[in-house]
Subunit: 623 residues, 2 copies
């Protein structure tokens, strides 16, 4: 069977553009002799489109366009993901019933589901974790089959079509249907049992670091176990849910009936290829470095975001630290140096070392630059507000700005005043350079360094930002654009005399330990809390559980010091960190669990369990 793997760039919310892309690919596929053209899941609408599913006019448009794509399938079979509408029934949300569905047309005729008698094949397994919330929008076909009083397995059916003059059964299924492990419902097995001769998985699957290896394992063993060729079709592009952006990596793959890869489409790039499932030969899968993949992910999503909203230029505040340096190099690579304006905004607290490093970076990248001091403006704010008298009837008070308040004044002055205005004047936007470690514990100022149009690095731990810096020098620019001194100097905010990196005074975060600690709170599928941490600490296996390189005793001399640190950061993560993240810029997801829509949180006071408190009191008693 010759299947056209149409790995298209799906633009969310632009059905007219996506339809055009599909029609072109369809024509090309039939011209090249394909029996079947396969497109990704929800390829007309996009997948992450928020509550746009509730607009009936939009859904009707998708149904019309789906019919058009089917009607154009004159020379063979077309299968694609699209919303399925049953306007005669209500969903559990009280709106016309929608399904996440596979549409299949054979020579212009739309195929119908044998049990549901609907002109599409609904997705069976609807994910509801991380950024996924399919039951919010789509009706559950496992529910429907039960309501009809039919056997559960009847919700899954292969599609009867004609291939090269002979009847054939296509096992068309959607994304999560192939990841059935936790559902106790083996969709591909049912398709095989019902006679499917090929598995075609239509996906809309966002990139997550490490997921690609897992996918190869799962789909390869699925094909092998069922002894069927398996075609995985994914889209490329960028989609988002407001607070979190996702990069779609494509990487559509064809496996033969032995589970070997016979075709692999590129990552993050649209691709089109007609693959014969019978004759294609195995080929080894490429495995680039983790950093290469991360960089592809960033560049793809940031590039599309800027392109989609016609953003051509960027302003970046460069401090001489690693985060802004990586950000500057990334955007310079993406937009070209003439579209980048790097600004150094020194105050009395910035050392010559970091100012020189910033200057060196700018020279290396050869972008536009400017230096704008914040001294005069901070002095004006101090003069206007420090010592200001407030009055009411028969009463007055004098207010003072503390040194800590003045640190925040500096941070806000740099972003909300200078970068915002320069971005306007340069017809640009500015990014937030915050990394995941800082974002986690709110170590940034709202409307200050926690502002910007996008936070491209906010799903990378500090140690990953350093590695990305090395990657930019070694693999992207192939020269030291980020000066060595930026890697070597201790990270510091330089907002007061106490934060002088020349004297080794840096951030309060001990990245080597805290990055691993924070990761355990956030990214493990079975997330842990201070309770588990304290058990591991007590039992002497914290280093092993977190994968620390040094002994925890080398960092904390006493149990009390360890516990104080643990509580400090847990409180920051669950307290002010949340307050700040609610108003922080969108985060570009890279690792598992990005802030925003992937990892959801409420404004609450941090909590320690009773078991934690008991463990703590035991430890401190015996200290």
């Amino acid at each position: 069977m010759k299947i056209a793997v149409a790995q298209i760039d799906v633009i969310p919310g632009r059905p007219e553009t996506n339809l055009k892309t599909c029609l072109e690919a369809q024509r090309r596929g039939f011209n090249e002799g394909a029996d079947v053209i396969a497109f990704p899941e929800l390829c007309l609408s996009g997948y992450l489109i928020g509550d746009l599913w509730e607009e009936q006019s939009f859904v009707s448009e998708l149904v019309d366009m789906g019919a058009e794509l089917c009607a154009a399938s004159t020379a063979g079979v077309t299968c694609f993901g699209n919303v399925g509408l049953d306007a005669t029934q209500w969903g559990e949300d009280g709106r016309p019933r929608r399904f996440n569905a596979a549409w299949v047309a054979d020579r212009g005729v739309l195929m119908r589901h044998p049990v549901f008698d609907l002109p599409f094949f609904p997705k069976t397994l609807l994910p509801n974790y991380r950024e996924f919330e399919e039951t919010r929008h789509f009706f559950d076909s496992r529910r429907l089959v039960t309501q009809l009083g039919r056997d559960r397995k009847e919700c899954v059916a292969p599609v009867n079509v004609e291939i090269a003059g002979a009847p054939a059964k296509l096992g068309v299924y959607l994304c999560e249907d192939g990841w059935h492990e936790d559902y106790r419902f083996d969709v591909p097995q049912i398709l095989k049992d019902k006679g499917a001769s090929v598995l075609i998985n239509l996906s809309g699957s966002p990139f997550t670091l490490g997921k690609e290896q897992k996918r190869h394992r799962i789909f390869s063993s699925q094909a092998k176990k069922l002894e069927l060729p398996l075609v995985y079709v994914n889209c490329t592009g960028m989609q988002n849910n407001g607070k979190t952006l996702f990069s779609f990596d494509g990487n559509s793959t064809v496996y033969n009936a032995k589970g070997q890869v016979t075709h692999e489409a590129p990552h993050f790039t649209p691709s089109f290829k007609v693959v014969d499932t019978a004759t294609a030969r195995p080929r080894p899968t490429a495995a680039p470095s983790e950093m290469e993949r991360i960089y592809q992910c960033l560049k793809n999503a940031v590039g599309i975001y800027m392109d989609r909203f016609a953003l051509k230029r960027i302003v970046i505040g460069v401090s001489g630290g690693i985060d802004s340096a990586v950000s500057a190099a990334l955007f310079t690579d993406l937009l070209g140096p003439r579209n980048v304006l790097l600004v150094n905004m020194p105050s009395r607290y910035n050392t010559d070392t970091t100012k020189n490093l910033a200057r060196e970076l700018i020279e290396n990248l050869d972008t536009f630059s400017a230096t704008v001091s914040i001294e005069a403006s901070v002095a004006l704010t101090k003069e206007q507000l420090d010592g200001v008298t407030i009055r009411r009837k028969g009463e007055s008070k004098t207010l003072a700005l503390s040194p800590f308040h003045l640190e925040n004044v500096q941070a806000r002055d740099r972003s909300s005043r200078i970068l915002s205005a320069l971005a306007s004047a340069f017809a640009a936007v500015y990014p937030s350079n915050a990394n995941k470690s800082e974002t986690m514990v709110g170590y940034a100022t709202l409307y200050g360094d926690h502002s910007g149009f996008l936070a491209p690095l906010a799903d990378l731990w500090k140690h990953q930002v350093y590695s990305l810096g090395e990657y930019l020098n070694d693999a992207v620019f192939k020269r030291e654009v980020i000066p060595r001194g930026i890697f070597d100097i201790v990270p510091s905010a330089e907002l007061s005399d106490d934060q002088n990196p020349e004297h080794g005074a840096g951030d309060p975060i001990i990245y080597g330990y805290h990055d691993k600690l924070f990761e355990s709170w956030m990214q493990r599928w079975q997330r842990v809390s201070p309770e588990e941490i304290l058990v591991w600490y007590r039992d002497g296996r914290l280093e092993q559980e977190l994968g620390l390189e040094q002994s925890i005793q080398a960092l904390f001399k006493t149990d009390e010091a360890f516990i104080n640190d643990l509580e400090r950061w847990w409180n920051a993560f669950k307290g002010l960190g949340v307050v700040k993240r609610v108003q922080a810029p969108p985060v570009l997801a890279v690792c598992r669990r990005a802030f925003g829509y992937d990892y959801r949180e409420s404004l609450m006071r941090p909590y320690f369990t009773r078991r934690y408190l008991a463990l703590k009191s035991d430890l401190i008693k015996t200290d």
Copy 2:
């Protein structure tokens, strides 16, 4: 049967406090002779706690505490909502299986579900719309019963207990189980069919304007139809999902078997009452004005938010306009005038009229006040950045700030510089005074008036803000604290010479029409888009569909003018509006569909359907 209706204040994420509250109410109930003590849904954890459900240590704590509350039920029956854990099974998210469940204990013994053989009774109908996303966190008991090969109805069962020495069947169910209309699964009917002699609905139901009337209708007719007394127990308090805050209104109600109200607990206030379902007499339900309810909702949620995070003071920028005036009056009522600092921040563009109105407001409220001009600071920014030269190798450019850029500079100067610093110095926070109309179309400046710790008015349309102003004068302060002139003057941003309200030059939003238009896009259950609007316009029934008071032709002379306006605001709503809302302060939900977690959106380019474009071209052709 004597049932203690324990309408407690549930604090999300504070199980130790909630357990204490429950134990006290339980003791009191048994002391007062109750047979059954009934608590709200998820009363130990809270309902809106984000992904905290994924922390196993937290879930275990809730299971332990549930067991404690059951063990303390020595003198009778206790039923309450709590997470149910089946640690022997996985959920579809690959984590230990959790249920949103009713726990029932009779004389210390935990009752088990007859079919599931679990020590709790899972909720049957899991809502997934608006702010609800229960399938993200909880296993679906309708799915479970099917997987066990049992009849669908077997997931619902009344609880067998002993009341006054005789066996009794309690129909305990959870919140949405009583709102079954769209689910085709009548939980209370099944409870009745299986012999329940009373219905006890444990709820965790956030306030929405108008929902209380609907609830009374639904529960009253449920009791009447099934000829059973019905006890509805709801919590009070405030819960949130980061971007959106919800006020919980309590208003627990007991209906007799005729559907008459025999007890009604207050709104937004914890309450405890032992009610005899047999003897209680009907009483009329109170129906306050809509504005009274809105004000209760606001005051409850804002008050709890400030209290929970130990915020005692507020700084508010008052412009002489209605939004900041209402905000000032609300916070003064809430915190007392000594904890409020009202700041006027004039520039050359502020008229004497609005400056005087602001001064009058301050005097009426008798709060602390200060005047801080933004002239010097804006001049400094202009001096530093307007005309700044940026350079790169062999190239330089001079940047300029346009009058529009300078409008944003003013807005950011007021908020990110002055209000932020004054809030620090006054040990306070500052609110965003944006209303829903502005928020919808992004008519506010990021890090400017779109900043603040909370946007308490951002779910009220402009016309509702005016009504709330009247209510504050008439019913709260009982004198004209908000000067009449603030109601009368045209709303204006006063950021340029063109925006002079003394000359009648106000906002571009025509609130009388646009409020209704925006509401149709956002708040209707069957949401509409420009396609439907244009059909109504063409057919001459726009006024009727939207409830406009004046003819649309009085506002727009030509079809083209109407269409340009329609597209302008749709583009703003779906374009820059989203960009700004992603970083906007949390919104307090009042009406149906608040921005943030209730109404979810993605950053996409605005879309017009093909039907819309065809309609438009027809109209313009004949113009």
